[in-house]
Symmetry: C2
Subunit: 245 residues, 2 copies
DNA sequence: CGAGGGTTTGAAGTGCATCAAATAGTGTGG
DNA sequence: CCACACTATTTGATGCACTTCAAACCCTCG
């Protein structure tokens, strides 16, 4: 079946599974389902019993938690190629967050059970899992730091920088990967604050903004401003999940 | 040697090593050093090359990062029985934070290299490592949520609650585990804010405060106040690292 | 007893949130 | 291709929470 082939290739192309046993990939595949999600469609709920995990094929998925009173904290917004829900294995088989499609998306739903087996039996796989977990941990530590030490415009600047190839200097043009309201929530601020932060960068850092297209006059200048309140020195790419990992 | 015996027992009593190979414990032991740290003594520096990891035997160790400008973000304050520095394995062998003794402490310094080996060779051990990592991840997610959704008095209330056995109701007396300034930084607030937050809880929640001894009139009342802005329902013990884990 | 750090208190400032309203954009049916 | 409806984004005015700065207090320990 064509769709199965695609899933197979997608899995195999993923670092996590590139060195895992064929048996595992086959088992996952046999019980895989591809799901189309409408924008805002909810996929899993915080604390729900978890039997499946997910791989994003197209679109973006927002992970979040919310209180009884309705305020929500965005944990992460994941791009194509990323997994989520896999950590439920270590969480009494329940999801540690809710997940919804940030825009029309396609995800592959995979059974959790074979994962647990593979971890116990294939040290290489466990190691992969460990390093992906460690990468995530590092990222969260950084996020916590950003929230503590950077103000809104700096956080935004930092976010923009991570959308660029940070090795170049001159002017660079980027596109926001999803809408501004969502970027705002990803950065832990209100849309209004986001808008004002962007306005400030436009004024002070010579940014040109047109819709969701942004031209940064000089990366180094922006970095000097944003990274002043960060413990990591500037070229800090790869730390954050924006591309296929 | 007596000291070696103590270290051996300490290691073996630790969940992480209870099921690891004797070979590993022996290797770790052979190259172990016990260190006494004065209050504020720095043990490792962020980004330093890492060849060792540490187990806390007495005292408290503060993990933090700081910017060039001198502001610092406290990542965690670890109690007796906790490890740190082990994740350097997954971080190009460099520490992802700085660490200093929050008060006079004793730590055991252990070589990192045998750990890496054991992870590859002992699936059980890798699994332990994974679940400890997952626990940490969950904790960090919660921390991020707290910072986003709870105000200062609520965060403090939540912190106090986690120092109690949350199953009881009546009045409970607790002691702050380290000084107020440090608790403040752990909760991401200034000492002044901490002081005012405590004053507010004293007034609104019928807390009695005498130095670092605090009597909570009623746990449920405090929980209703603090946990309103949290996605986790009340008895939320075990989530946070305050006791031996 | 006196020095020094930890803690509290007061006064003032800052940054972000909130509320409200205007404006820009997007997709739809006609 | 246009007008409408709906949503996203911006802008202004105001409020609140936490920080900052300054000073007093207090507690411990030599």
């Amino acid at each position: 079946m064509a769709s199965t082939d695609i899933i197979f290739d997608t899995l195999r192309a993923t670092p996590l599974f590139e060195s895992s046993s064929d048996a595992l990939v086959r088992k996952l595949l046999k019980d895989s389902v591809s799901l189309k999600l409408a924008r805002r469609q909810i996929l899993v709920l915080h604390d729900d019993p978890a039997e499946r995990f997910f791989l994003i094929r197209t679109g973006w998925v927002k992970l979040f938690r919310e209180t009884l009173e309705g305020s929500e904290a965005v944990i992460d917004i994941l791009p194509v190629g990323h997994f989520f829900g896999d950590t439920a294995i270590f969480n009494d088989n329940s999801y540690p967050f809710s997940a919804e499609a940030a825009e029309p998306s396609e995800v592959i739903s995979l059974p959790l059970a074979p994962l647990a087996l593979e971890i116990e039996e294939n040290p290489k796989f466990a190691l992969k899992m460990l390093s992906s977990m460690a990468r995530y941990r590092k990222q969260q530590d950084l996020e916590l730091e950003h929230r503590a030490l950077q103000n809104a415009p700096q956080r935004l600047g930092c976010f923009l920088l991570r959308l660029t190839r940070q090795d170049q200097s001159g002017p660079v043009t980027i596109h926001l990967p999803y809408d501004k309201t969502l970027v705002a929530s990803r950065l832990g601020m209100k849309p209004e604050t986001f808008s004002r932060a962007l306005a400030k960068l436009r004024a002070d850092m010579a940014l040109k903004v047109k819709g969701s297209t942004i031209e940064i006059a000089d990366i180094q200048t922006l970095a000097a401003y944003s990274c002043a309140a960060c413990s990591t020195e500037f070229p800090c790419k790869d730390i954050v999940a924006t591309k296929f990992a």
